[in-house]
Symmetry: C2
Subunit: 287 residues, 2 copies
């Protein structure tokens, strides 16, 4: 208890940062749901976030449990690459499969009326609506996206970052990585990125897909939400086990030393991880 | 010169690994175009790969310059999450925008005839083709994907990994990360993931989108190829500057200079790759 108290008041930079972040989260109550500017703390991730923050070497800094969004691209300029563009906006966002089912979000797309200025039209959208696929640089598409959960965790040091990274990779979060300053990003490739409509000169939208396609998107998204939840739960179990194993080991300092056999097994495991990491880009299969 | 020689014969584990990887690339000649099954070394990435490998702290381990693919999902089982499934296959893959333009890949989807066994049908695809969107677990979709370039670089130590990671992030490769063992993955979010058809019980496919939608996908993909190329070039310039700045700072101009032997090997490698490209054979990079 005393040790924990002294740790809480530690002047160590990591401990200070962790205290600041946790106090910000704690102030995020019902009356101040957005007290923390970083990410969205949502219910689905809470058990995982709690177990991570229970470890003295970790603190979560931002998160999203996964979402569906419908986004109208902004005006693009020649210099811009892959950005949202000027004036892009979300027409619909949900983190909740039930809300996805109960919302007629397709009407939000088809009924949308965008204010389009004269200068916007002359800037490059003039080729749209003549039956030809327009030049993308001027075209503003409406995109339907499914994005899986993402979680950032600030770690005390490289060793703790590596342990968390390894746990995430072993659960299939293959797009995870350690950033600068031992910030681990946990990411997985479950996604949809689908153009579903485009914006006309007069600010109306033209659907690119039939109504039935929207039903398919919804069905697929509900399945992805399920897979995403299963992956979050798997990661939660794995991180909890990892932390428990570390704590058990810490109580037996003599076992801290790795035996030859343990070292061999660890090297084998690490090798598999590296394979898994690099394999994600190599499904070059049948050319 | 002597320093470079001794470095080349160093027993340091990183130097040994780098030598092994580079010699594997060099052995990828006309008679053994597939010496390594992992990854694709393609021409678009060569200048970037060369500048990275010219640095004694880095060696590229796998890469893909970016591609469009059309993938028929395999049979899914309840236990599987987000995988390719059993029997999934690519109907079309290209890394080349010109090939995308000149190939009638949509016919490869609409004309596809998949061998579907009785057990496959009873396993879960029986709800397909009745006009209702089928349950995803049994449904096998055809997916159209654009995937941006990805590059893995094994680094000598944490400091060199951090430097490369920071360079990549500064160019907008925001999904980059450092893995275990100082392997940096360089990734960017330029993508399409679009269901375009599904498989019927009889092995035929049903399009989910009208023909005009395919033209839009193609237009958007060509634009993404352009953005991807611009990003690769930006990263190349940034990494070259970083290396030059490091070498200036280290005040060791001799390590900057490619030796005659290194230059000969590089030219040889580039020549083989260009030959391979003109024959439509893609040599595989080593891991």
């Amino acid at each position: 208890m005393r040790e924990s108290d002294s740790e809480e008041m530690s002047q160590n930079p990591f401990d200070q940062k962790k205290r600041a972040i946790l106090s910000q989260i704690e102030s995020t109550d019902e009356t101040h749901p957005d007290a923390s500017p970083k990410g969205t703390l949502d219910v689905l991730l809470l058990p995982l976030i709690d177990v991570i923050n229970s470890h003295s070497d970790y603190v979560t800094t931002s998160s999203c449990s996964g979402r569906v969004s419908v986004f109208l691209e902004g005006m693009k300029t020649a210099s811009e690459l892959g950005g949202k563009g000027d004036g892009g906006k979300w027409l619909f966002i949900t983190h909740d499969p039930e809300e996805l089912k109960s919302t007629d979000w397709w009407s939000l797309v088809t009924d949308h009326r965008e204010h389009v200025s004269e200068s916007d039209v002359s800037a490059g959208v003039s080729s749209i609506g003549n039956g030809e696929p327009a030049k993308y640089d001027g075209q503003r598409y409406v995109l339907y996206k499914f994005e899986a959960m993402i979680l950032h965790v600030k770690c005390r040091d490289r060793a703790s970052a590596s342990a968390l990274y390894t746990a995430a990779m072993s659960c299939g979060f293959r797009e995870s990585g350690i950033g600068s300053n031992d910030l681990v990003g946990i990411r997985i490739s479950l996604r949809l990125d689908v153009p579903i409509a485009y914006l006309n000169n007069d600010g109306t939208t033209t659907p690119l897909v039939p109504r039935q396609y929207i039903d398919h998107l919804q069905t697929i998204s509900l399945d992805l939400f399920n897979k995403n939840t299963a992956k979050i739960n798997q990661l939660h179990r794995t991180v909890a086990s990892m932390i428990q194993a570390q704590q058990t080991a810490a109580n037996k300092p003599q076992t801290a030393k790795e035996t030859k056999e343990q070292r061999r097994e660890r090297k084998h495991r690490e090798g598999l991880l590296i394979q898994a990491q690099t394999r994600q880009i190599t499904p070059e299969a049948p050319l």
